[in-house]
């Protein structure tokens, strides 16, 4: 019975996810076509005849609605069109070649950042209002407020330019190339996790069942990590989900500073240059990742927190 309800729940969610994606895709398509300018890089020198020729070649001379229907049809067949910024390369090639490094850096950053952040948060909560707490909180505030490109430039200057222990940039030194960009990107999840965990843990650590654990003679570290942390993790999952997506989809500045061949810049660049099919593909990709992660987060809630129950599932 329970399984049946789960299936129903998941099917409903999947339907809404598909609907969300459809609405995002359609809205983006029409909004993007309202952008001023043409998708051609050389637009300030093209003659009218050349412009007509290019519009015809790429089908931009067709009525908007016809193009929309064609596009949806093509996407369903797995054809995402070509990028006009990248010599008519299929957009699918662009995304597949560029997603890897961004995905790797994003996951490394979330993993490293949240682990260290959780650890610092627990330490801070255990030493509430003492020097260690102040230090961790200060770190969290700094991490939240300093933009990651400042951190990136500082890291590059210290570790690559001055100490010469890590590469300045470029994606040609295996794992070593990923260390500095990962560190720069991990500051934000680190600070965020530290802040959330501290706040939650301070509350949890003063509750009755923790007192009981203390009375039973459990060590503070064991109390904090086994009893406190599980409850403190719940709100963190809410923020970590979308943050993971945003990190996996790359960072414009950090990727530029370390010369990483990621996807980070493509979203902004494609919008600024009216690269229609790239805008569409990147939007679809990012939204799909986001709805999937939100869905997974909701499922995860059920597993971590027995109090949360979805409608229909007992």
């Amino acid at each position: 019975m329970k399984a049946k309800r789960w299936v129903k729940y998941i099917c409903t969610r999947l339907f809404y996810m598909a609907l969300t994606l459809f609405i995002i895709t359609s809205a983006t398509f029409f909004l993007m076509n309202a952008l001023p300018g043409t998708p051609y890089n050389n637009q300030d020198r093209l003659t009218q005849a050349q412009l007509d020729m290019l519009n015809k070649k790429y089908g931009f001379d067709r009525p908007l609605f016809e193009r929309y229907i064609n596009y949806l049809g093509n996407v369903l067949h797995g054809d995402f069109g070509v990028s006009l910024q990248f010599s008519d390369q299929p957009v699918a090639t662009l995304l597949s070649q560029r997603m890897g490094p961004s995905l790797q850096l994003g996951l490394q950053a979330v993993l490293f950042g949240s682990l260290v952040g959780v650890f610092l948060g627990v330490i801070a909560a255990m030493h509430q209002n003492r020097a260690l707490d102040v230090f961790c909180s200060l770190f969290a505030i700094t991490g939240r407020s300093v933009p990651n490109f400042v951190v990136a430039v500082l890291l590059q200057y210290i570790f690559a330019v001055t100490l010469k222990v890590l590469p300045i940039g470029l994606w040609d030194d295996g794992f070593r190339s990923t260390i500095l960009p990962t560190l720069a990107l991990s500051i934000s999840p680190m600070a965020e996790s530290c802040r959330f965990i501290r706040t939650e843990m301070v509350e949890v650590l003063s509750s009755d069942y923790i007192e009981l654990a203390r009375a039973k003679g459990m060590s503070e570290i064991r109390i904090a990590f086994t009893h406190g942390l599980r409850n403190g993790l719940i709100p963190l999952i809410t923020v970590l989900g979308p943050m993971t997506v945003s990190l996996m989809t790359g960072s414009l500045v950090v990727e530029n500073i370390f010369a990483v061949p990621g996807i980070g810049e493509q979203f902004t660049k494609s919008i600024l240059s009216n690269d229609y099919y790239t805008i569409m593909a990147v939007t679809i990709l990012f939204s799909a990742l986001l709805v999937v992660v939100i869905f997974l987060t909701d499922i995860l809630y059920q597993i971590i927190d027995p109090r949360v129950r979805i409608e229909g599932v007992q």
Partner: protein, 545 residues
């Protein structure tokens, strides 16, 4: 014991391999070079910007190359072209020993095919700096078949171009990589996938593209052993690296990881006076453009409420200090404009520069500017005017825009400039809507100086001012259709066009861009270009021992 011995032997063998390969690596002559963005295309027929221009330069084998004085010298061609008396027929004989990377010989038919591709609507090239080949426009418009284009092979080594009008700059134009051979059978076999990766390309130039599959930020050029002039090609490999962050690029250069890197105007003062700072005076003009007649919704044009007034326009031409703009704002990454035609593009029949022959037509004269402005306001019957200045949102455009706003408001009391920094595509859409006040624009023409005044000719789509003038049209028509190779008449008409545009204040020429680079001082024998799609010719460069 035997096992240990075997292990030791194996280890020493491995070690020696490493040592040997390291030694081989050291002997390899490699150049590391910087590029500002990902390749936009490696199809020589589609090249339209400096990035694609750089990307194809080492793999292309154009008919001519430009020497250090920007004079064309034979490359794939055996000699300078034979040009008929009327200037309309240009015959080029190519080398019979040129080969593609795979050993296939290069034929004149491949030049014909390459030229056709530039105009073929099915290929869809954005290249706008093309020679005026007969039927070119009609082929692009799809009105006549591509075979009707004025280019044909007379034999395996002789190609004949037929032009629409006599063009004394045709040899320089044929030095463009667009006129490099493309093997038709190979390209057609690749179909839509042609030149979308290094494997889908067959080139005949000094180097071969390697390790590029479409979107990389690093790729390399490997020496082509089949190149007809391979003995004068020094580097075994030239590695290109896309670095978009200026700080990172400079850090990589200073760490010795890159041998040549671009320097933005902000960083030029740091390197001023250093031996490795290379400055290239380009022929890129930055103009502050006016809209003089504005396009209305019904397709008609009405005079711009403020800028149709000639005195107001003249006040803006003389009310700005170009020296200060170039030195204080752009840190020397620009030279003050002298007129609409850039200085350095060509010399007069007497060998004089544009500046010396035509004079410095645009300069600072605050008194005159204020007088013009006062007169203009009186004619308009107002005390003050407000204009919107639209610029792109790049660092440099914002800097120039902010400077212009502050300088004009100080120099011309009563003038308010509202600044709008927008993405380039938005700025350009506004300019092409022919309904704006002021816009920071630019123009890079070709080696024919006519390409500069031509942008203000009545029928030209990039005449953003929408200045309608039969007088200017007559001068441009004379330059395009009558003067031919009569350089004295041509120079006189260029003088008239330049003077006309300044006298009527149709645009405000501001500056000519100077590009800054840091180049490893060991690097010798490279050539820099003032114009065209590639800045550096590294094909014959070498490291001084």
């Amino acid at each position: 014991m035997k096992r240990i011995l075997a292990l030791v032997l194996a280890a020493s063998l491995l070690l020696s391999l490493v040592v040997v390969s390291a030694g081989a690596e050291e002997d390899k002559k490699v150049l590391h070079w910087f590029i500002g963005g990902e390749v936009t295309t490696v199809d020589t027929g589609k090249v339209y910007d400096t990035i694609s221009g750089e990307a194809v330069f080492l793999i292309a084998d154009p008919l001519y190359r430009l020497d250090e004085n920007a004079d064309p010298v034979p490359n794939l061609a055996v000699a300078l072209p034979e040009i008929s008396e009327d200037g309309l027929t240009v015959t080029v004989t190519i080398r019979d020993d040129a080969k593609y990377v795979d050993g296939t010989p290069v034929k004149a038919q491949d030049i014909v095919y390459a030229t056709q591709r530039i105009f073929d609507p099915a290929v869809g090239s954005q290249n706008s700096s093309v020679a005026d080949i007969k039927n070119g426009a009609a082929v692009r418009a799809g009105e006549v078949a591509v075979e009707e284009l004025g280019v044909k092979a007379l034999s395996d080594t002789v190609v004949e171009f037929t032009l629409s009008g006599a063009d004394p700059y045709i040899t320089k134009k044929l030095a463009d990589t667009s006129y490099s051979p493309i093997p038709q059978a190979f390209a057609e076999a690749q179909g839509e996938g042609y030149a979308l990766s290094a494997d889908a390309l067959l080139s005949a130039g000094p180097f071969v593209l390697s390790g590029w599959t479409g979107t990389e930020i690093s790729w390399s050029y490997v020496k082509n052993p089949n190149y007809w002039d391979a003995e004068n090609v020094y580097f075994d490999e030239i590695i290109y690296q896309v670095v978009k962050d200026q700080n990172t690029a400079l850090n990589l250069y200073e760490a010795g990881q890159i041998d040549g890197v671009n320097v933005d105007s902000d960083f030029i003062p740091l390197y001023e006076g250093q031996e490795d700072l290379v400055k290239i005076n380009t022929l890129r003009m930055t103009n502050l453009e006016f809209n003089i007649n504005s396009l209305q919704g019904d397709g008609s044009y009405t005079p711009h409420p403020v800028l149709s007034n000639e005195n107001i326009r003249k006040a803006l031409v003389y009310g700005i200090d170009r020296e200060e703009l170039c030195s204080a704002v752009l840190n020397g990454a620009a030279a003050p404009a002298v007129g609409v035609i850039p200085n350095g593009i060509a010399a007069s029949p007497d060998g004089e520069s544009v500046k010396d022959s035509f004079g410095t037509l645009v300069y600072t004269d605050l008194e005159a500017a204020q007088e013009y402005f006062k007169k203009g306001l009186e004619e308009l019957g107002v005390d003050s005017v407000e204009l919107r200045l639209v610029t792109s949102d790049t660092d440099e455009s914002i800097k120039i825009g902010t400077y212009l706003q502050s300088a004009y408001q100080t120099n011309l009391p009563g003038l308010t400039i509202n600044l709008a920094n927008v993405p380039s595509s938005v700025r350009f859409a506004e300019m092409m809507g022919y309904n704006f006040d002021l816009a920071l624009g630019g123009w890079t023409g070709d080696y024919d100086p006519t390409s500069y005044p031509n942008q203000f000719e009545t029928s030209y789509e990039h005449n953003h001012a929408k200045w309608f003038s039969d007088e200017l049209t007559a001068i441009i028509n004379a330059l395009k259709n009558e003067d031919g190779t009569d350089f004295a008449a041509r120079w006189e008409h260029l003088r008239q066009a330049n003077q006309y545009l300044v006298d009527n204040a149709i645009t405000i020429p501001l500056e000519q861009a100077v590009k800054g680079y840091l180049v490893n001082t060991k690097l010798q024998n490279y050539i820099t270009h003032q114009l065209g799609y590639s800045v550096f010719d590294l094909s014959r460069a070498y490291f001084a021992e």
